[in-house]
Symmetry: C2
DNA sequence: AATCTCCATTTCGTATACAATCTGTAGGCA
DNA sequence: TGCCTACAGATTGTATACGAAATGGAGATT
């Protein structure tokens, strides 16, 4: 494996260049859970790490902020986002709305070559899971979902889904609770099967229930330890 | 009327500051069709216009680029986006997927105060339409749709819809063909009526057909005059 | 000992300077 | 005349410098 396994390019509205590269590298690191939500991303640090000035680092961080992966606070800097429980629900509700439709369109457009790509993601996910690298497994799982959108050939929905999948990774880092292994692979296999016979209805239905599964695999109870903002804490009910 | 009628804030992931203000002003100008798709937005010009340096202007333009309103080409600069026919279809297909759901959720959450806000947008749209200011009318129409998302109280879908509505404005500038006035107001009134009795099913259905109407009001035939990229023109079939 | 104030440090916000790239035009050459 | 080349202008890409804001700690005060 050479570069990024979660090869999720195409969703940053930046012209090609150093800033875009940094975006991709930071995104991969976040998606693979090599950076925790809440972690500080100082401009100087990022710039030095990638051998560019603060100007370029800043551009990259702002681009990531637009995707929701990073949060920028004025005069305080950039941090890996910490999605709230509320956001977590909304992200998976949005995915539950969008992805079944995407699955249907992908099933319609599916070719043997497309199937091979999807199979590759599932295999890779299995492999790294066997090695215990859950971060990488999650990245491959995300790539699987995004490849489906690619196949559906709807650029705008793909771009939207890209941000949702990225955020999902943060949400899982914070709230994933189900400990049973192979959490998703069954659904992914079932999807592959539906795709292989181009069964649009099955693909849509399987994706829909897959989304419900994912959502219910989170522990989104309102543990008071979660750092709500001061304004939230003192908001009148 | 004081500031922006299309008061569509909240969708730029920038900390408050000058750059964000510039974003809002440029967005309003584009949404009201005071700037045509394809128009150049030079950094110097924008900076001078708003009394800031290129740095800040650049930040604003990049933020707009992430929303799809502006396209940045490396070493060439920023331009008001010119959505392709393909993108136009995709935008309205995405809206057709998302907005009926939003309408349903909004109907569930509707209160008398919310209704007043929506009624205000419709009234404002009528007023400026009567004055012949179609750009402003379009901006109010967009604000109506976004207010519905606000009422549905789904921040993520609202943000997604914001970008879609903005792009719709560009698409309409390029491709709107139906000349009959009152193009949308009937649908908007029907929606208001459904909302006023909190009829979720009706709201969803009306919104769905409203989306079909909008989509079909565009002339998306492949007129060869449209400036396709050279690569597209000479792509082998 | 606890608290307040002030200052030093760090980090970001903004402006400016210089380098790189592209575009258009004028001049030279076949 | 037609075409290629080279230069000049304009615009963006990147780096750096300086100012502003927030943080953290040392010292003074009660």
């Amino acid at each position: 494996m050479t570069i990024a396994p979660a090869d999720l390019r195409g969703s940053f509205s930046l012209p090609p260049g150093k800033a875009l590269d940094i975006c991709h590298q930071l995104e991969a690191a976040i998606l693979q859970h090599r950076m925790q939500p809440g972690m500080k991303l100082a401009e100087d640090e990022v710039g030095e790490l990638f051998g560019v000035s603060r100007t370029v680092a800043r551009t990259a961080l702002q681009a990531l902020a637009h995707g929701g992966l990073v949060t920028i606070e004025r005069n305080r800097g950039a941090f890996v986002s910490r999605p709230t429980i509320r956001e977590a629900h909304e992200v998976f509700e949005a995915r539950a709305l969008i992805e079944p439709r995407i699955a249907r369109m992908a099933a319609r457009a599916m070719t043997p070559d497309h199937l091979k790509v999807l199979q590759g993601h599932v295999d890779a996910e299995h492999e790294v899971t066997a090695q215990g690298d859950m971060g990488m497994a999650l990245a491959h799982s995300g790539a699987f979902h995004l490849s489906i959108a690619d196949i559906a050939d709807q650029a705008i929905l793909t771009q939207i889904l890209h941000t949702l999948v990225s955020r999902s990774s943060l949400i899982i880092a914070l709230y994933w609770h189900r400990r049973d292994t192979g959490c998703e692979s069954h659904s992914h296999h079932a999807l592959l099967k539906a795709f292989s016979v181009r069964d649009e209805n099955a693909a849509e239905e399987i994706m829909k229930s897959h989304m419900v599964d994912l959502h219910s695999g989170l522990d989104l109870r309102d543990r008071s330890e979660s750092h709500r903002s001061l304004a939230d804490v003192f908001a009148k009910p």
